[in-house]
């Protein structure tokens, strides 16, 4: 009897856990946001009756990127600050803000080989006279391939930058799904050569991430060709019709021109539904390089 009651309670608890908690953990970033009264500037001496001194309002972002790379801070589509990353991968970037409201900032990192990270966006509430510090930012690794199409039997070299000596997970997804566990070296470099002889021909996507983090690198497309087929001249970014390996304001303008127009150029219509709509813009925004 006791056993039955225990089972019932156990089952109800399990059900409740499904109801009240999501099935998957979605946020694993350990970001911390703090606000402290700004220091560093001293109040200017003033005679009695002057306006009270208000310390400067500022924002600081800190975390880890790629050793000896750089991190750039963007506001209103303009780069407002740029810092170098230490050889351990740490960075800290501070910007004095003239306004004190809810502001959207974007950050991206560039590794020492010039490869750009994904864009990280943070909308932050600022208070007058406070230094708001967003710490614990972690850029996912950068990712590069030595080629975007190959034949079975070839080798594919996959490489990039990460924090030094950190465990990474690299995935190749398509008709086959393969996961590789790798560790970056002391300079933050990782490199893996994947023999392709046991892969089925077709389209694949390749990405990497830190083992303990959900946020992934850019997703790169890769095609494994059948022996008698020549590789097509294709951009590695969907919608990059001018093959400059970038998705930026220029591509955005061209896409905007075709917005809601029928029969757009095939290369712009990234989901192939013969119309440019919000879905195409969303895919563009995902692959945005700036």
């Amino acid at each position: 009897m006791l056993n039955k009651s225990f089972k019932k309670v156990f089952l109800i608890l399990i059900s409740a856990s499904f109801i009240f908690f999501p099935l998957f953990s979605i946020a694993d970033e350990t970001l911390t946001v703090t606000a402290t009264v700004s220091s560093g500037s001293t109040p200017s001496p003033s005679g009695g009756g002057g306006a009270p001194y208000i310390p400067p309002t500022s924002i600081r972002f800190s975390g880890q990127a790629y050793p000896n790379g750089k991190v750039l801070l963007i506001k209103n589509k303009n780069i407002i600050a740029e810092v170098l990353v230490s050889n351990l991968g740490d960075f800290s970037i501070t910007f004095e803000e003239p306004t004190d409201r809810n502001i959207m900032y974007s950050l991206y990192a560039v590794d020492s080989a010039g490869v750009q990270s994904i864009i990280l966006n943070y909308q932050v509430y600022l208070s007058t006279g406070y230094l708001t510090h967003l710490s614990g930012i972690l850029f996912p690794p950068t990712l590069s391939l030595d080629r975007y199409s190959a034949y079975s039997g070839d080798d594919l070299s996959i490489f990039g930058f990460a924090i030094p000596e950190r465990a990474l997970e690299l995935k190749i997804e398509g008709k086959d799904i393969k996961t590789f566990n790798i560790i970056s070296n002391k300079d933050g470099v990782y490199n893996i050569i994947v023999p392709l002889f046991n892969f089925k021909s077709g389209q694949y996507k390749i990405y990497t991430k830190y083992k303990e983090q959900a946020l992934t690198s850019k997703v790169l497309p890769f095609e494994l060709l059948i022996e008698d087929k020549n590789p097509e001249v294709k951009s590695k970014i969907p919608g990059d019709c001018n093959f400059d390996d970038r998705i930026n304001l220029k591509d955005f303008s061209i896409l905007s021109f075709w917005y809601k127009k029928k029969n757009p150029p095939t290369c712009l219509d990234v989901n192939h539904d013969k119309i440019i709509n919000l879905v195409d813009f969303s895919i563009f925004a995902y692959y945005w390089t700036g």
Binding site: M104, S127, V279
Partner: protein, 313 residues
């Protein structure tokens, strides 16, 4: 026992799957009470439920007899890349934009965890007394997943009571004015926008790279105070006309001076000018004149030669 087990499992799966979308909600945040003549802000907030989102298409309905759309705070929303900036269309406010890289929430040092993200901040002016309803008639929000997957979400409307200038606002206790989440405190009017839009760049894209896309002029103005309301363009000495970016500038034989004027919702404006190259360049003109002169010289030479030949000289 089997029946109980089935019921529990069914309930778990049903509610469990719906709990994944729990938290994804679109709603408004603003003061509840305003006075006639007041200009006030309404934030369009989105609780992403932890999902990264990168595109939104939203339509807002409101009582046009009570409220006037007075613009938007460009700096206080994440939708900076407008496909359709906030504007009135068929009596409703329409806004469509993207967030390159996506966003999951906002950060406030006074609160734990991520907070709902402010997609846009709309400005209204109260024009007569009554109870104004704000609600979403359309909302499409897409995940930042490289596929444009739609994120299911719930929507909440908002009621704003509008009182006469002299009327006492009921159930309203005068609090110590304080700013909460960047909102304007109750009863405080949004200051008038007296600043012109920021300086903006006019860019010319020739059509050669994209054969089916014509030569275009692009311009993306920015106005922190009340947002860009419209653009007007003047080509050479022609009249001003309302245009949108990107603008199909077409081809011309000669270069043209083009001025674009960005107006904000308060009527302030900023100009930007560019010279668009024509198909005929200076070199083409020089070569054409040289060839014409050469042809003329040859013709004269032949004419003289034949005259002399006829005269038997």
């Amino acid at each position: 026992m089997k029946k109980l087990l089935f019921t529990i499992l069914f309930t778990s799966l049903f509610f469990g799957s719906s709990s994944l979308a729990y938290g994804a909600e679109l709603y408004f945040s603003s003061q509840d009470n305003v006075r006639v003549g007041n200009t006030f802000e309404v934030s369009v907030l989105f609780d992403t439920g932890g999902e990264s989102v990168n595109a939104a298409d939203i339509e807002i309905s409101f009582n046009q007899n009570l409220l006037t759309f007075a613009g938007y705070k460009e700096s206080e929303g994440v939708l900076g890349f407008w496909i359709e900036r906030p504007h009135i269309e068929n009596g409703k406010i329409r806004l469509t934009g993207v967030i390159p890289g996506g966003v999951t929430g906002s950060y406030d040092p006074n609160k734990n965890g991520q907070q709902p993200v402010s997609l846009a901040k709309i400005i209204f002016t109260a024009k007569s007394t009554g109870v104004a309803n704000l609600y979403f008639t359309k909302s499409q929000i897409l995940k930042n997943d490289g596929l444009g997957t739609e994120l299911n979400h719930t929507k909440k409307s908002k009621v704003v009571s509008i009182y006469k200038k002299s009327e006492e606002i009921k159930e309203y206790v005068e609090p110590t004015p304080q700013v909460i989440e960047g909102e304007t405190p109750v009863g405080t009017e949004v200051p008038a926008d007296t600043e012109s839009p920021d300086k903006f760049v006019l860019e010319y894209f020739e059509s050669s790279l994209f054969l089916r896309t014509p030569s275009m002029l692009t311009f993306y103005g920015y106005d922190a105070g009340s947002g860009v309301a419209r653009y007007e363009m003047k080509i050479g000495n022609k009249d001003w006309r309302v245009v949108e970016s990107p603008y199909n500038i077409g081809e011309s034989l000669f270069k043209r001076q083009v001025t674009v004027r960005a107006y904000d919702h308060a009527g302030n404006f900023k100009d930007s000018t560019i010279v668009v190259p024509g198909s005929i360049t200076l070199w083409v003109i020089v070569i054409f004149i040289t060839l014409t002169l050469f042809a003329f010289a040859v013709y004269e030479f032949l004419l003289i030669y034949h005259r002399r030949k006829r005269k038997g000289l």
